[in-house]
Symmetry: C2
Subunit: 326 residues, 2 copies
């Protein structure tokens, strides 16, 4: 993660991000001691807070950051944190953000309950402040995120996926929340549907570009440094864009062989071979092109806005997402 680049993107809302952090802590109060302990632990795992950043930048470019913007930022960060905690339980992850995961320290039961607490807390902030427009978008997003993950698992089981399904999966499981962050930021400060729509689209496109880059990095990223395993998706039979393209652009014989390997479970010594197959058949180059295309679409979505520091930051964020190597 390039910290310098990120801090440049944060500049137009740096004061607002500080205020957000204060607000966020206020929401994380409970009179149950165990909840307090867990929350203090979660706050010590400092995330990049990309989602609140998106809410605040989208608010700023749409009119200005206000109380509703801070509430929106808290809502998405609470939801995101709850999701990460539940994910770690399900994936039996032992680390999160360089520290032990909550489930590793407190066990599954407490982790699932703390996740539920954070999610309901996020929803309560919206309910209590009559931010019903936020609720409409966020509940739809939670539904889409679970459906996207389930579709991916189903397709992995069947080993049957095409580009269209791939885009549906990543739109649901990844882009929907990012898009919602931008939409909520805009809605927190304006009723102008053109602005809301523009920022929702920006979020959708940058979300798709982000996930494609993530899927590319699973093949060629220098992820080993951070303990992430290369080819992790292959082991889980997740067929992503680079592989889909390579399978469609190789000889029948070659692609049959890859399917056979996937079907019986990819072994450590087969991963290098499949990665070469993907590279040699243009899967990485093609995916980079498509990520670039969605970056351009994200950028074009901002055309209706005048030049400003926030607009520059949102554009930089696109480059940041697509050029990252981790």
């Amino acid at each position: 993660m390039n910290k310098l680049a990120l801090s440049q993107i944060q500049t137009p809302v740096s004061n607002e991000l500080l205020e957000f952090s204060k607000e966020f802590k206020k929401y994380l109060k409970s009179d149950i001691r165990l909840v307090e302990f867990a929350i203090r632990f979660i706050l010590s795992q400092k995330g990049k807070k990309i989602r609140p950043l998106l809410v605040l930048l989208a608010a700023k470019i749409s009119g200005g950051v206000g109380d509703r913007s801070f509430r929106g930022a808290s809502l998405v960060e609470l939801l995101h944190t709850a999701t990460l905690i539940h994910d770690d339980v399900v994936d039996k992850a032992s680390k999160r953000r360089g520290l032990p995961s909550l489930n590793k320290i407190w066990g599954n039961k407490i982790s699932v309950l703390v996740g539920d607490f954070l999610l309901s807390k996020g929803l309560m902030i919206s309910v209590e402040n009559d931010d019903f427009d936020f609720l409409k978008t966020i509940t739809n997003t939670v539904k889409k995120m679970s459906e996207g993950e389930l579709l991916q698992i189903y397709k992995a089981k069947k080993l049957d996926i095409d580009e269209e399904t791939y885009f549906k999966i990543i739109s649901y499981k990844t882009a929907s929340l990012i898009s919602t962050c931008c939409e909520i930021g805009a809605r927190s400060t304006t009723d102008d549907l053109a602005k809301i729509e523009a920022l929702r689209n920006y979020g959708e496109y940058i979300g798709i570009a982000f996930q494609i880059q993530d899927d590319i990095l699973d093949f060629i990223g220098k992820t080993k440094i951070f303990g992430k395993v290369q080819g992790g998706d292959l082991k889980e039979k997740k067929i992503t864009l680079p592989l889909i393209f390579a399978l469609n652009n190789s000889s029948k014989e070659e692609s049959k062989e890859i399917y056979r390997a996937l079907k019986k479970g990819v072994k450590e010594d087969e991963i290098e071979k499949i990665i070469s197959f993907v590279i040699n058949n243009g899967g990485i180059d093609y995916s980079k092109g498509i990520a670039e295309l969605y970056s351009q679409k994200a950028k074009d979505s901002l055309n209706i806005f005048e030049e400003s520091d926030s607009k520059t930051a949102l554009i930089k964020l696109i480059e940041f997402v697509v050029n990252r190597e981790l």
Copy 2:
């Protein structure tokens, strides 16, 4: 479970329960095939649907069952089902309602995601129909339920609990949802705050009586038939009302010995001994008395309503809850 007694309680809203089942199935649609499979499986595990029953009876006694009542019933049943699925994952349960649990068949990941899907679906029904009063009560309930469970775990770890904390735990983890069912039923059909308050109280009291009876049955219930283990709470270091009373009403020496056993983990051959300790020191009789007291409070809460079939059913439900032996 006494099926005859339950069917008598259902009589005043038997048509409405049928209509509810139809509505409920409609909500459980998804264009993701794996979600459809999981839902069909969940529908095959026929629960007692006590919570929708409460919503419908509360609506009927407050004015009449309408569209909003059905939506409220679906909301609580979706939330309840999601909670059960997540519970089964956390507890590694292999059975639910006499059939294999969802996690047993589909695995943890799919189960957690299906739970999230059901929860968000429930919230979406309310959001899309502008049932914001339902959302206010339900999000607060989800928060309380997680806090109640976490408080119980925390107190189990510390082996430190008094009656006051016990009542807070069971009010949060159990009574809050039952109370919310009754409140939502009333709100679905009336603005009369006296009626809403009366039914909310009825739910709170019957919920507390229900949980006390549950805790009594953990000591003396004939639960072995159904594969439930007697003394399960003891093994999890959950100190419930019968034991709290017995500890406070025995010799210092005796109670010290019990604490010692709990601290190092209760073994199979110690369970009988602790059960006898609880019985001999009046823990069961006292708890029965308190359950009776809350039953009476639940009944009294209904005083403001005129006699009707629904009122009779709600009163019968109290007896059903407190006299059950399973």
